[in-house]
Symmetry: C2
Subunit: 345 residues, 2 copies
DNA sequence: ATTAGCACTCATTTCGTTTTAGTGCTAACA
DNA sequence: TGTTAGCACTAAAACGAAATGAGTGCTAAT
């Protein structure tokens, strides 16, 4: 059954007030603040209907109504009017993109910080390299008498390096030799194939180079770093602003979940439709722990790193604002990509 | 006036119980749990004395006593018996040092994490490079047709690098030329002297190298990173375990302070005596915000990076355990240093 | 010097009462 | 027929007085 126009208006009013006050909303309040041409009694009738239809809930008799997950859902889906970012907000956002040469990770953490500050919700982001990264080249070069620099460059443009202290001097020629062998062994190999076993297998080819173990350790470490999923969380303390977490134990729980990489990872599973903003309301999300939260998220893809970024807040979050922010952000991100690819390829 | 033995015993008992329960301790309780050969009345008299002397406080008449800052102070200073780490705890600690080749920062963040887990307090650490870092060498090398790698190596062994996309191909010879000019300009310069002005001044010497702006930007960014003070915080949520923060607003406040780089920086000012463990109790610390907290801290120095590491907890923290942990940690850190310098110089 | 005894204090708990904010239903009304 | 006023009803929250309990300090006895 479709919602009548009036019912929708009432639902909207309730959601609006509830988002602001976190208190159940009664018929009189709605009449006063929103729909003064109807009497409370009429509104009450409609509210009873809305409850029956599943859009509202009543914490107990004699309390007002609060929106249900379903209520929020239709509110969000049936074109809520968009919050319009202020100039200041736009400028702030753009600040994060100022240094476009920066690494994707540092852009994302800046964005998260700005997002959480502007919305007062918690910003979370995952970031993972594209999976099939390959070793483009390895290099060993002498720095001074006792130190060499080991470098690993990947085909996505990533560079890792580490200083290694040597027992005996290694000159440019020797370094070039080692570099050549390293490349003949490993160039083109997928990063995830760099395993201790593989390396051990190759080690016979480096007889006479005492520091090969150190180089191998460096390669393993770098490979691990490249493969590693990174997770950024910013503004989790904001959760303590909401009366739903005025109980310390609840607060502690949610903060623990929100700082736990595993659950965040589950929470930020890729959206159904790539490249669209997804809104996950209360129990819709995959984790019991977050049943009282809503998440606004979208995927991004930025110079070899991709992942999802999201805003986590209480169920009664300001969807309009949060979604608008995300949209703006998404746009800016897309701009960077296109600029970059213009240059790059 | 010196404390009689009996008074000291009573003070200890009160502190012991208060650390456990966070509740004011009464005379009966002490009699039951600690000093059964004295009657509550006698203990009461002694307690009254101790209060007069400033070692105890009474939240209100008809409540038991709680230790004052001064009380904790004598408790800590007059040789509290040491907590002895379990084998398991020692092993856990050592885990953090397993990969000694790691960068100082990552060792410190691992340590912080372990410390906070084992103590249930909050671990914080600052980390700063020795101040007079110099540029040892700069390097530009071609990676493929359209990309060059810019590198900056500092005299403490740090390496920064970044890929730069070029408009036209730059071969090895050209790269070597640029490298030579770069080094003649900047090698030996203190990192903090790398400023936009300085760079602008030099830029005439790079006529014909279109990407010099990118290289300069990279140098500025790297210099900033090197100079930047890093701060690590781990386990701040642990604060929510303590009844002193069962009020969300208090909890929020302390969490904000504890995650605020500026205040942390003040809090972790270098200890009076380098290389010793310092205990800062309640109001002794420089920041009003942390008047209800105590801090166990010590300085460290690890491969070019140095700073302080500390444990922050409520005033009634388990000093014995926290100090022991710190001591053990300090030892392990010192070991690494001596091992490393054995190799290095 | 120690301690039993007792009067006293003050925070906390308990419990019944009132207040308040809301509902649902019925009957009257336009 | 949809709207509304009126009213009985409900449940939580706020209130306030009384009881409870954990502790003290002081005095007098040991």
């Amino acid at each position: 059954m479709q919602l009548s126009d009036r019912k929708r208006k009432i639902l909207q009013a309730i959601i609006h007030d509830y988002i602001e006050t976190a208190e159940p909303v009664g018929s009189r309040t709605i009449c006063k603040n929103h729909i003064s041409d109807l009497s409370p009694a009429t509104i009450r009738n409609e509210m009873a209907d809305l409850e029956e239809m599943g859009y509202l809930e009543q914490p107990h008799t004699s309390a007002g109504r609060i929106p249900s997950d379903l209520g929020y859902r239709v509110f969000v889906d049936s074109g809520l009017e968009r919050y319009r970012l202020t100039i200041k907000e736009m400028l702030q956002m753009q600040e994060a993109f100022k240094h476009k040469m920066r690494e994707a990770n540092s852009i994302m953490s800046e964005i998260s910080s700005i997002l959480s500050q502007m919305t007062n919700y918690t910003a979370v982001a995952t970031s993972k390299r594209a999976s099939n990264i390959k070793v483009q080249s390895l290099q060993v070069m002498p720095i001074d008498a006792r130190r060499i620099l080991a470098m690993m460059i990947t085909n996505d443009g990533g560079v890792k390096n580490q200083l290694i202290v040597t027992r005996q001097e290694i000159d440019g020629v020797r370094a070039a030799e080692i570099t050549a062998v390293l490349n003949s062994c490993f160039a083109g190999m997928t990063v995830s194939d760099i395993t201790p076993e593989k390396l051990a297998e190759m080690s016979t080819r480096f007889r006479g180079f005492a520091e090969i173990e150190d180089v191998f350790e460096f390669m393993l470490k770098s490979a691990a770093e490249i493969e590693k999923q990174e997770i950024i969380v910013d503004g989790s303390i904001n959760m303590l602003n909401f009366p739903e977490y005025s109980d310390v134990n609840k607060a502690k729980q949610i903060l623990e979940y929100i700082n736990d990489k595993k659950s965040l990872n589950m929470l930020l599973q890729s959206p159904k439709r790539e490249n669209e903003i997804e809104v996950i309301i209360g129990n819709e999300n995959p984790l019991e722990e977050f049943k009282d939260c809503s998440i606004i998220m979208c995927s991004y893809n930025l110079g070899g790193r991709s992942g999802n970024i999201g805003l986590v807040g209480p169920r009664r979050m300001n969807y309009s604002k949060a979604i608008s922010m995300m949209e703006y952000l998404k746009n800016e991100l897309d701009n960077i990509i296109s600029e970059r690819t213009d240059e790059d390829e």
